[in-house]
């Protein structure tokens, strides 16, 4: 892992709290919630191992991986946006946030398509324990993505108005978006891949 020993002009000095304390209260609380869902999922997996294994096969690994790549790309755009906003290049930052948002919309579309296919094949929420968790957890995550799109829209508004443009607001929104990405990575590993 590369390490940086001196700060560059676009880097923050050490011990800077990105965003503000408020967003971190939320992020840590939400991470705790998701951790709880994952643990409960595992409890039921221990109890119903064969049902879980059997059902997991019906998930589309490629779609899941694709969605992961889409969300990672969106996080890259948002992270870049924060950096460019700090240097004052607001037009570029706006473009980057829009691209991040487009990726978010793409994720939503892919996910909807994936759900549609699964439901059409008869795998619905009440089908068995596994699908109960699958739809609920990805559902809650999707809800977070949709809220994230709202947050990105707010950041766009923030960046466009010269009178607004608070750095902490842009950072806070970015932190939320990265959290959504982070949670998906664990979901992808837990629901799709791990057995």
């Amino acid at each position: 892992m590369v390490s940086i020993l001196e700060t560059t002009p676009t880097e923050q000095p050490r011990w800077h709290l990105p965003g503000d304390i408020n967003i971190w209260v939320f992020v840590l609380a939400d991470l705790f919630s998701f951790a709880f869902y994952f643990v409960v999922f595992m409890v039921y997996r221990i109890e119903h191992g064969s049902v879980f294994l059997d059902s997991q096969r019906h998930l589309n690994l490629t779609t899941g991986a694709l969605n992961t790549l889409v969300l990672l790309a969106s996080s890259r755009f948002v992270a870049l946006a924060v950096q460019t906003a700090r240097t004052g290049d607001y037009r570029r930052a706006t473009r980057l946030v829009s691209l991040g948002g487009l990726c978010g919309i793409l994720f939503t579309l892919i996910k909807s398509y994936e759900w549609f296919r699964e439901i059409a094949d008869g795998f619905t929420l009440p089908r068995n324990e596994f699908f109960m968790f699958y739809f609920s957890i990805t559902g809650v995550h999707l809800f977070h993505v949709l809220i994230g799109l709202l947050v990105l829209a707010l950041i766009l508004r923030e960046l466009r108005e010269p009178s607004l443009r608070r750095a902490s607001m842009v950072e806070a929104g970015a932190i939320y978006w990265h959290m959504v990405d982070l949670v998906w990575i664990v979901i992808f590993a837990l629901l799709y891949l791990a057995r």
Binding site: L125, P126, S136, V140
Partner: protein, 251 residues
């Protein structure tokens, strides 16, 4: 601010200053912990609605549940009828603090309305259903089972009004320039919404994590609600302490 209310009465004498200046607010604040303690006592200890008995049981077991707890159910919910009105005081206190915010009082009206409606499925429906179930010992067991389902489905599944309620509160706090409540409370309130949504599946499942007694739909939801409530009570106390005595509050 649009249209301040008629001016608060000016201080009549120095003696008025020495009496507890915000007594009215503090009385209302104390209702909060008192009411919710009572609520906990009624729903947990007396009526056994929290944590709820299992949905996936047969008619016989449902009837024996009511038979075993009949007396305490009657006592608990009769008490609830007397004290449920106190919820309006707690809601009024929060609504009053919302009026102090820089946002228009629409949020306050919505907050009060959603809680007023939410109280019915959120507590009263379960109470009446259970009271009816234990009222006549010789009632048809299938009817008793029906009342069991009605009571518990409404109690755990009634999230619609509360979702809007939390949303309105979160929005008001987030948009408030007077900083009556800190920003993180807006986020915590919003976090509440996300967890409440996971109570929706209770209408589908009779067992498992998303049943009305499930680890996620009930237990996690309840724990997070208690955390939220704790934060609300503490922040209300802080808000009252910081409130200027002669502040004019919008209508």
């Amino acid at each position: 601010m649009t249209g301040a209310t008629a001016a608060l009465p000016a201080r009549v004498s120095a003696r008025d200053d020495q009496r507890s200046p915000k007594l009215d607010l503090w009385i209302c604040w104390w209702v909060f912990p008192a009411f919710y303690t009572l609520f906990g006592l009624i729903f947990v200890v007396l009526t056994r609605v929290m944590p709820p008995p299992r949905p996936g049981v047969g008619v016989d077991q449902i009837n024996s549940f009511f038979h075993a707890h009949g007396t305490t159910i009657k006592l608990g919910f009769a008490l609830l009828m007397v004290f449920i009105g106190l919820a309006s005081v707690t809601n009024g206190l929060v609504a009053f603090q919302m009026k102090r915010m820089s946002v228009k009082p629409i949020f306050t009206y919505a907050y009060i309305a959603t809680l007023a409606v939410g109280a019915v499925p959120g507590a009263l429906f379960a109470a009446f259903a259970f009271l009816a179930a234990v009222f006549r010992p010789d009632r048809d067991p299938h009817l008793v089972a029906l009342l069991y389902d009605v009571g518990l489905l409404t109690f755990v599944g009634s999230l619609g009004c509360f979702t809007t309620n939390y949303l309105v509160l979160a929005l008001a706090i987030a948009l408030d320039k007077n900083k009556v409540f800190p920003m993180w409370m807006a986020y915590i309130t919003f976090w509440q919404i996300a967890t409440e949504l996971l109570a929706a599946p209770v209408f589908v499942f009779q067992k498992g994590a998303f049943a009305w007694n499930g680890a996620i739909s009930f237990y996690e939801g309840t724990v997070i609600f208690v955390v939220f409530l704790g934060c609300l009570i503490v922040l209300l106390r802080r808000a009252i302490q910081q409130q200027p005595m002669d502040e004019l509050v919008q209508d």
